[in-house]
Symmetry: D2
Subunit: 343 residues, 4 copies
Amino acid sequence: MSQYSFLDDYSEGCHPDILAALADTNLVQQTAYGNDDYSERARALIREQLGRRDTPVYFVSGGTLANIIITASALRPHEAIIAASTGHIVGRETGAIEAAGHKIITVATADGKLTPEDIRSALANNAHYPHMAKPRLVYISNATELGTVYTRAELRALAESCRANDLLLMLDGARLGVALTTEASDLTLAEIADLTDIFWIGGTKAGALIGEAIVIPNAQLAHEFDFHIKQRGALLAKGRLLGLQFATLFSGQLFFALSAHANAMAQKISRAITASGYALASPTQSNMIFPILPDALLEKLHQDYEFHLWSKADDEHAVIRLVTSWATDEEQVNAFIRDISEK
Amino acid sequence: MSQYSFLDDYSEGCHPDILAALADTNLVQQTAYGNDDYSERARALIREQLGRRDTPVYFVSGGTLANIIITASALRPHEAIIAASTGHIVGRETGAIEAAGHKIITVATADGKLTPEDIRSALANNAHYPHMAKPRLVYISNATELGTVYTRAELRALAESCRANDLLLMLDGARLGVALTTEASDLTLAEIADLTDIFWIGGTKAGALIGEAIVIPNAQLAHEFDFHIKQRGALLAKGRLLGLQFATLFSGQLFFALSAHANAMAQKISRAITASGYALASPTQSNMIFPILPDALLEKLHQDYEFHLWSKADDEHAVIRLVTSWATDEEQVNAFIRDISEK
Amino acid sequence: MSQYSFLDDYSEGCHPDILAALADTNLVQQTAYGNDDYSERARALIREQLGRRDTPVYFVSGGTLANIIITASALRPHEAIIAASTGHIVGRETGAIEAAGHKIITVATADGKLTPEDIRSALANNAHYPHMAKPRLVYISNATELGTVYTRAELRALAESCRANDLLLMLDGARLGVALTTEASDLTLAEIADLTDIFWIGGTKAGALIGEAIVIPNAQLAHEFDFHIKQRGALLAKGRLLGLQFATLFSGQLFFALSAHANAMAQKISRAITASGYALASPTQSNMIFPILPDALLEKLHQDYEFHLWSKADDEHAVIRLVTSWATDEEQVNAFIRDISEK
Amino acid sequence: MSQYSFLDDYSEGCHPDILAALADTNLVQQTAYGNDDYSERARALIREQLGRRDTPVYFVSGGTLANIIITASALRPHEAIIAASTGHIVGRETGAIEAAGHKIITVATADGKLTPEDIRSALANNAHYPHMAKPRLVYISNATELGTVYTRAELRALAESCRANDLLLMLDGARLGVALTTEASDLTLAEIADLTDIFWIGGTKAGALIGEAIVIPNAQLAHEFDFHIKQRGALLAKGRLLGLQFATLFSGQLFFALSAHANAMAQKISRAITASGYALASPTQSNMIFPILPDALLEKLHQDYEFHLWSKADDEHAVIRLVTSWATDEEQVNAFIRDISEK
């Protein structure tokens, strides 16, 4: 690529510390299927962050698999999922949840976040027993597909609504790193474990080559979980690859530091855009920026940068999506800012 | 029940001719699994209506099964269905379609009917290859869940849109009898066979005890269809039960005559309601009437009649749903009309 | 058919009492979906037989559906079924159980019946956690596909083995009527309810037009069972059709009397065959007879009777399968016996 | 581990060239989801081996996923798979194939390999239309679970039998490297592409950290294959991780050289065992050795080596399984041989 890419947060490999750890341990023989020393160490480090001793933690090879495994293991065939209509499982996983047999009940939201009111309405509209699939699990992601994040008060209110209605709460954390380290958030990993039944921490978008960590605070959902990891194809023979990466990310504060960098770069771009007199389609809460820019400017920017055209704003303007990451080069950010303010 | 029921079109048994036919043939030995003489006769009679000689016709034991079998046999795992958000498969079949592995893409409609514009929009919103399930089959019902019916022009436009976009068109005919015999319709069974790839003719709501006839104008969809009927549990050992009913319904014009009666009773009630000065929430196109009536009147009517409260209209009025059928007793209809006009 | 058929036990319609009951109640309005008076009455009559007050009883439209619904509602996705390799769900339901997501672990048996030793061996061969699906439910049928039946001691031993190993025991009773009324059996319906977690009573092969009754002694398996009946397409709008038939069959002792007739006819044929000097491939325990007859005799018999060629015995003999039923005409049986002894 | 492990072929990380390639390219921005330069290069290198220009090649994250994706995309719901009863998909994937809806018809074999006679018998035993799932795809692995390999003549005969019976032939190549580089084999990668409809080349057991390459000689099976990779969770955001590894393995002859090393180590151990007067339970055809050793010797060996106890041979002997790999240390092999011959 001759242009610098702001397309996504998975255009580079991984943090160099991970490559170093892989090299250091490469020929050490280890037990297979996630029973290696590095996976054990990673579990211990994650539990430390949670302030919990025995919470089950599993590593799987991807986010779609995490979502399939969690829902397929938690639900009986007649049970359905409630999700925002913009949710990742709704429109970005090729019907994977339905392929495993479950209906997703969608709720339109303003900002990608579910509220207790959304839950009430979904329950009310799906109560015709037994002609409707029974709502049983609420799916959210943090950050959402729109880059917005939940506050502690919002997540607590949602969790209370779920418990009051015998609903499980699941959190997709593909971008949990940026969601927890942004100024817009007052949540911690430990609080997420207190408020949800099951969640996963994304490694792929946070500096790993591959891998997500599923955390199961609700012990019932952990029952015979290994079978589901294996059945859906997510049990790596060389589980060490996943364990070692999470052990590296959660040694010291690397995971949070990398995510904070992504947020910082996003804020820098976001502030520069508004300083240059352009508007944002939505506030910048994590590592996605949605500026509204003139078509002429976009044409020039496209010579040096890659980004997604999100939607037309009017005849002469469009909304674009810029994504920053742990790997975003600050010099490229500075250049981009310069190019915006000058042009 | 001490009250007369306008709750649905399946509160009685079946047309007496069917009981007579069952009695006449009861001890005649017949080949099992739909290979009996009566099923052969029923197929021939239906094909006669279609003006087609070889179109495959299968009989199954229920509407949900018909919808499961059709979609599961027609689609590969990554292919999705487009349906109105009010569609029967969306909210009245306990996630049966998803349980067989397929996503339903829903489109909001004013009247339960899909248009080419709906198709265009569903395709445009589900084009992110390969991250989105691929739209492949359009599901409609005639009459719709809201009692509305397709005109020939509407169905033709929809069919053309499907063919232009390589989409299969499937029609759920649970209430096809009333849809074809209402004044609001100019469609025939033969035209439906010309315009759709696969459809089914509802027996249960049209005077049969049980059973629906699946008709497959698109030969590709018929390939090894028997396996799917058996696999989903719809292949009756005594297929004669289904065949004999359809042979009875399609001997002469019984099927159409019974449906016409349901429509006539609906029109009689509908006209009486407007004549009494009350409004309808929507025009009466088939065998469902949605009048807006004062709460006080409803309370009195409830002493003698059963019907569904549909929604509140205002502080003193509600919308109710009345359903007529092949079995609706005209004397009860007259009494109901009298009770409305007098009270 | 010009020949008299001994092909199966579903070549005729239904017992005339059922037709009479259908005619008597035909225009009485009833609540839909199994909440009608007749279904209530049928449930009460069946519970009387069981000597149990509250055991859930559901009516569904077919045996494959019963098997799908029971297994799909009872099992999580990683849980497997243990069955005899001759089991109906193994080779006669087009992969219906697998289509709902579950593996069947098969065990070779001599006579179609499972023993505690079979369970031990199936468990031992499927213990590689989590790489193997976890055995969770034992499927048997009574009578088996081979016409053999379980004694009380055999069923009790199997049930104890299941409980000791945390396995659910399910009994497919497509031919439960003949299994309970044969001399080879000392079991009652009440004992089956004591020894199994869930079972079903076949109506189709016992004098009904259609329908099977699922009985759920293990309350946990009944939780939200209605959803599964609806989701799999087995919830009839006119549930009255099923209820009325079972109410008729279980009024007085009709169900048992009809089954006893089938057994009596089978014994009569079986004894005549041995009296004529021919051997049986296996003892006649219910309504299936497996004689070994000379090819020349079979050719003659085929002029007047229909039956299945089961397998070659030697160069001049074959095993055939004869099936009797509630409807078997004793005069035809007498003629058949005469034809065997004379020829 | 204080003992040296002969447990499996995935106890170490990956070949150092792969780590070097990862380090070299780590911060180069690449397009996501397998559209990166390294995946393109890997595809080109594999096609070169096949002597085919356009054959589709896809990379996925694991073997179970490869098997799920291939079968789920190739089969309609009523279609079944024929496999050896020892096949990996039968007893080592937690019912993954059934969870995706398909029945596996198993055939007992002497050595894990399927023959045309096995196909004939499976077809004959599954021909009861439409009551049996329809055999449609034949699954084999090379090497098999028992370490045996197919010769060219054997594979050709099987392929001809499949084509003659309208069956697809799929080859699971988790251990294809050792299968092709053993003396027992006269097959090439190009011939496998000529004889099968779809197959995959295992990376995980051949020196990669993770990843398998699916090759699709039968163009029909490639239609919209990407959707299935995504739907089943095998589409990595950082597809570069897979592409780069296969590009490294197929640059020069690394893939074959590493597999040849595994075979050489296996032959060395195998010959030493027979030279020491011990028998083999089966001949050593790839990287698995099954010696029959005295219990006393095994106890001593267990102090320094890890291996699987496979089965009891008699009161004083047992069969063990030793596995070698690309990473097997020849010094450890020499020590093991010494320990066997001395003790």
